[in-house]
């Protein structure tokens, strides 16, 4: 049976990266809904940035960017994938002043992927040196703040300094998350990927 037009199959390697990007997008969405309760008055500990970390390290800049872009698009389309089951373009722009952090995750994944892989074709994580991976993770967190803080300032009319001050209490938590991600890399937990 001949088909009416010629079917241009997606090549096997692309299908493989694409499905991984799709799954890490879904994982980013799932991690945004899960948090570990902390004792006392501390806010719950969410694992949302790990979507960005994994996207950059496992998928590289191109497919890592695709993963986070899919996450944002699905949220804009109305699937409750942002923190606390939020959705919509309004949430990406404003959030609790946190919209810039969502955009920051996308750019952070691309930057982490670019530093770690230095090519749009990702290499196995086992082939990446640990210091380079650590540098990629640190840079991605820096990017998230570099976008999130000015964005908060734009949305709220707060000066940059005040916007940064408002974010200061979250910095220690993010440093803990960064430390956990570095421990994951140094422990070789991703080297099978």
């Amino acid at each position: 049976m001949a088909t009416e037009q010629s079917v241009d199959l997606v090549d096997d390697e692309t299908v493989g990266w694409f499905t991984k990007a799709v799954l890490i997008a879904a994982l980013t969405a799932a991690l945004a809904q899960i948090s570990i309760p902390l004792p006392g008055p501390l806010p719950p500990f969410s694992l949302q940035p790990f979507g960005m970390f994994f996207a950059g390290l496992v998928l590289g800049p191109l497919w890592g960017g695709v993963a986070l872009l899919l996450y944002l698009l699905v949220g804009i389309a109305g699937v409750p994938v942002f923190s606390n089951g939020s959705a919509g373009l309004g949430y990406v722009i404003a959030g609790e002043g946190t919209g810039g952090f969502l955009i920051g995750f996308l750019v952070g994944a691309v930057v982490a992927g670019a530093i770690a892989h230095r090519s749009t074709t990702p290499r196995p994580v086992a082939d990446l040196s640990v210091p380079v991976q650590v540098a990629a993770l640190v840079a991605s967190v820096a990017v998230v703040y570099a976008i999130g803080v000015p964005w908060l300032s734009m949305v709220t009319g707060l000066s940059l300094v005040r916007a940064a001050t408002v974010n200061a209490p979250f910095v220690p938590l993010d440093l803990v998350k960064l430390g956990i991600a570095i421990a994951i890399v140094e422990g070789g937990y991703l080297s099978g990927r």
């Binding site: 049976m1 088909t3 037009q5 079917v7």
Partner: protein, 234 residues
């Protein structure tokens, strides 16, 4: 006709298929059995060029499948174990339409095929239902419909009955009978022959990457325990 000649495929140093030859004529209902690791899944994944042989050839209607994977993948519909992981859309109709959409068919032809495929598995009313809300048996039937929407000549099912309860299992098998009676070749990969051996025309057993038994199911049953497959009559 699916024709396999001297097929060799290795995972690293281990030969999963070791010079295997087999031909399956149109419209046959064939069981492919063998213990875990005997090469069943590896074999069927060559039928539609999901795997490329290290040596040997696979042809479907005299076309080499590696030359034209599109023809192989439309001629041979494949349903895998764990249907939950092979759906591409959240609703039944959108999932079944995925294959025909990839073929670039007109929307009216796609709608027609989706309706016909769902009708063939008695899910014609389920087009707008969420796949996650369906039972395991219904999910297996949606997966079959997804393959049927390509209008294949053969349907290959890799362990389609794992995890299904008895009524769901019967229902899936009855639908396969109807498809076979309608002229579609049915190839079922399984290590569990309960309820299957009476329905099929042929039983092919694999062991260590080679065909070790190729008979009618009723004649083959006695030899099965030696091959690590349970006799379904026990």
């Amino acid at each position: 006709m699916i024709e396999i000649r001297d097929l060799v495929y290795r995972y690293g140093d281990a030969a999963a298929l070791d010079g295997l030859s087999l031909s399956i004529p149109d419209g046959q209902y064939c069981l492919l059995v063998g213990p875990n690791g005997s090469g069943k899944t590896t074999l069927v994944r060559h039928f539609n060029a999901l795997l490329t042989p290290d040596s040997g050839t696979v042809t479907v209607d005299e076309t080499d499948v590696t030359d034209d994977p599109v023809v192989a993948r439309t001629q041979i519909g494949m349903v895998f174990q764990h249907p939950r992981d092979q759906f591409v859309a959240a609703t039944v109709g959108a999932d079944v339409a995925f294959g025909p959409e990839n073929l670039g068919l007109d929307r009216s032809e796609i709608d027609h095929r989706v309706a016909a495929a769902l009708d063939a598995v008695d899910l014609d009313g389920a087009r707008e239902r969420r796949i996650d809300a369906l039972s395991g048996g219904e999910q297996a039937r949606v997966a079959i419909a997804g393959a049927l929407a390509m209008e294949p000549s053969y349907l290959v099912l890799d362990e389609p009955l794992v995890g299904l309860d008895w009524p769901a299992r019967e229902s899936v098998l009855d639908h396969l009978d109807a498809l076979a009676a309608d002229g579609t070749g049915v190839i079922v990969v399984t290590h569990d022959l309960r309820d299957l051996h009476e329905r099929a025309d042929r039983l092919v057993a694999l062991h260590e990457g080679q065909v070790v038994l190729d008979e009618s199911p009723s004649d083959a049953l006695g030899a099965l325990p030696d091959l690590g497959v349970r006799d379904p009559r026990c």
